[in-house]
């Protein structure tokens, strides 16, 4: 996790002068970067587990529900829109590929398995990162630089309990629900392009889904998206929470850069972890 790695590393360890300096510099750079990555990974892990231990406090339920509304319910429209067209284009492309082999009857299973196992979890996570993740980073970052988080400390309110924990739990609940919506609407999209527009038999389309989609595929998809939820919510909250510690920028600019880092890093980590989790599940 290099989100504040470059900024925090500074130049204090840089050596000056000496004949070996030029040769050592690339190694020093790689070493410093790796150490910063490990540092940040450790810090983010502690941050996540500390926040999770604050889940079961008083009055947390209301805050979690509020965050589910914010992260989940308010993302439904964009998720449905993206999934509908993803399903439609998937149906369209797959039809033209399958027709070459005379296997257009497998369209339903191809569309549904692609969505359930891969596209649903990944695209849902990326869409929520763009919509809610960036907002979470910006919100917490602004609260940090305007001393609102310090104010919580002085009021004896734990900021991790009050701000971070509800967001992480809400993400863990919302991501699978939104993925389910994505999968369903995507399959409908595939139906529209395959059956309604291209003339595949409706019964064949639905029967193919029923035959080839296994409960295990659905569970694997949900496992993936829960991993993504933890990654996205932790990265976004962590970036905002420590926005004031960035050394490459200050104030509003630090919040802006933290938000950018949160989105970019979340997307990269979604794809990296997708491969890792898939290889473990297959």
């Amino acid at each position: 996790m290099a989100f504040i790695a470059n900024s925090q590393s500074g130049s204090k360890n840089e050596t000056k002068g000496g004949p070996g300096t030029l040769v050592l510099r690339p190694f020093a750079f790689v070493g410093r970067t790796v150490i910063d990555w490990v540092d940040n990974l450790g810090a983010a892990t502690i941050f996540l587990f500390t926040a999770l231990t604050k889940t079961f406090g008083r009055k947390q339920l209301f805050k979690i529900v509020e965050q589910i509304y914010y992260i989940g319910a308010r993302s439904i429209t964009i998720i449905m829109l993206v999934s509908l067209f993803t399903g439609m284009v998937l149906g369209l492309q797959s039809y033209h590929a399958l027709v070459k082999f005379g296997a257009q009857g497998a369209l339903g299973s191809l569309v549904s398995l692609s969505l359930i196992m891969e596209l649903g979890p990944v695209l849902t996570a990326i869409m929520i990162t763009a919509r809610a993740g960036s907002a979470i980073t910006a919100e917490i970052g602004i609260q940090r630089i305007s001393e609102q988080i310090d104010a919580l400390h002085t009021m004896r309110i734990n900021p991790l309990r009050y701000l971070v924990s509800p967001k992480i739990i809400a993400a863990i609940i919302s991501f699978p629900l939104l993925t389910a919506v994505f999968d369903l609407v995507g399959i409908i999209g595939g139906y529209i392009s395959g059956v309604v527009l291209l003339g595949v038999n409706a019964g064949v389309y639905l029967h193919s889904i029923q035959t080839y989609v296994d409960l295990r595929d659905i569970i694997n998809g949900f496992i993936k998206v829960i991993v993504f939820a933890v990654i996205v919510s932790t990265v976004c909250c962590y970036q905002g929470y420590f926005a004031h510690m960035r050394k490459d920028s200050h104030g509003a600019q630090a919040v802006g850069l933290a938000t950018t880092s949160a989105v970019v890093l979340s997307c990269v980590l979604i794809l990296v972890s997708d491969y890792v989790v898939t290889s473990l599940l297959i």
């Binding site: 009055k59 009021m155 309110i157």
Partner: protein, 413 residues
């Protein structure tokens, strides 16, 4: 003296290579208003953040009721900090919450009080801080002064025993500054908390502070009463206090007590033995009624207008004035004997009736809605000689006071 409530012993704080606090020693006593003064960026707010535990010292120790915080158990530290409240320089209000929710937040999150009880307490604070109309508005919709009052209400909602105010008057106009300081003093008397302020408002903070701590060059260079500070001979006085007092004079027309003393000393040195001077003593009798009925702002408006008018009138003939207490002003007329001074006062009273009464009345009565009220302005004059003690002349002038104006405020006026 009693054990200090909070004590710093050789506290040092560095950020990188920069030392901000160096071997700072200070004592803060219970039930008092202690003000930390110093230049911007000197580290005053940092002292407050050390007190409330947001920052830990690199060296030295902080004691709470005689016990080092570093040696306390976690529960003890939690109990100690639970007695404190902090009002941030930038208010630190939650901009996504209304004023009501901001004030209710500490009660909702840290107590088991029922909704009705929280509502009662919050509404009481909202009324006390004159925020009733703003209760359901967001901080961004409020003026700077209202935001300060909302932050003050939130700081006081848990009835803390110690309240830390970080530049409570920053970004306010002179009237509001004095209104906020006056409000802090009033609440401190009412709720008997220990107040620790960081402020630039010299000399205004002197009127409300029991003790002053001066931070200069990373160290506390003075601890004592405002009166003791007036006799403090240190580069801090020239560099910090004088510059702030000059600004104050421009804004209110009044000199600080210290400047007044210096001017008086200079005049006395210039004058030949036995030469006369006069002291005019002004007081506003029902200022507390104005505060109670119309708010701190109205009271400060009246005081400022009085100050400006007195300076305008007497400054033109070589007089100089200062604020002696919250509702008392004194003017010195050098080289004037009693009959000359009385004649000057007569002119002043006449002008005052013709021009100023109307203005001040308008200011004082602008928000009258309920029963009528009156504000009496008194003045007294006494003559002194260059050899006589000025304090006894001031006391004599005070005893000679008689009414020079009465403002009647009623709804519709």
């Amino acid at each position: 003296m009693d054990t200090p409530l909070i004590e710093f012993k050789d506290v040092t704080k560095r950020f990188g290579n920069r030392t901000v606090l160096e071997r700072v020693n200070l004592q803060i006593y219970e039930g008092q208003i202690t003000t930390i003064i110093g230049l911007s960026g000197a580290g005053k707010s940092l002292i407050l953040k050390h007190i409330i535990g947001l920052i830990q010292p690199d060296e030295g120790a902080i004691f709470f009721r005689g016990k080092p915080i570093a040696e306390m158990k976690r529960t003890e530290i939690a109990t100690s900090f639970a007695q404190m409240s902090y009002m941030f320089q930038g208010n630190a209000l939650f901009d996504s919450l209304t004023v009501y929710d901001n004030i209710a937040l500490p009660l909702r999150e840290t107590t088991n009080l029922k909704k009705a009880e929280i509502d009662r307490r919050v509404m009481a604070r909202i009324e006390q801080t004159e925020l009733t109309e703003a209760a359901h508005r967001y901080p961004s919709e409020l003026s700077g002064g209202m935001q300060k009052r909302a932050a003050l209400a939130r700081a006081l909602i848990t009835d803390p025993q110690i309240v830390l105010f970080d530049e409570p008057t920053s970004g306010q106009d002179p009237v509001r500054k004095n209104a906020i300081l006056s409000m802090i003093a009033q609440y401190q008397r009412k709720f008997n908390f220990t107040a620790i302020l960081v402020s630039h408002e010299i000399p205004d903070v002197y009127f409300i502070s029991n003790r002053i701590l001066a931070l200069y060059d990373c160290r506390i260079v003075f601890q004592g009463t405002p009166e003791e500070l007036e006799n403090f001979d240190h580069p801090f006085t020239d560099e910090v206090i004088s510059s702030m007092e000059s600004l104050q004079k421009e804004l209110t027309g009044l000199y600080s007590k210290r400047q007044f003393k210096i001017f008086n000393h200079v005049q006395m040195k210039r004058s030949t033995a036995g030469e006369f001077y006069c002291i005019v003593f002004f007081s506003l009798q029902e200022l507390n009624t104005i505060i109670t009925k119309f708010g701190h702002d109205a009271a400060q408006d009246v005081l400022r207008d009085m100050g400006l008018y007195i300076d305008k009138h007497f400054g033109a003939i070589g007089g100089f004035s200062t604020r002696r207490d919250t509702n008392e002003l004194i003017t010195m007329l050098p080289y004037a004997n009693l009959s000359e001074a009385e004649s000057i006062i007569q002119d002043f009273v006449q002008d005052f009736h013709e021009q100023v009464t109307r203005t001040i009345q308008a200011v004082a009565c602008k928000s009258v809605l309920g029963e009528p009220t009156e504000l009496t302005i008194m003045a007294g004059v006494a003559q002194g000689q260059s050899t006589s003690n000025i304090d006894s002349v001031i006391a004599l002038a005070k005893s000679q006071q008689k009414e020079i104006g009465r403002l009647h405020c009623a709804a519709g006026e």
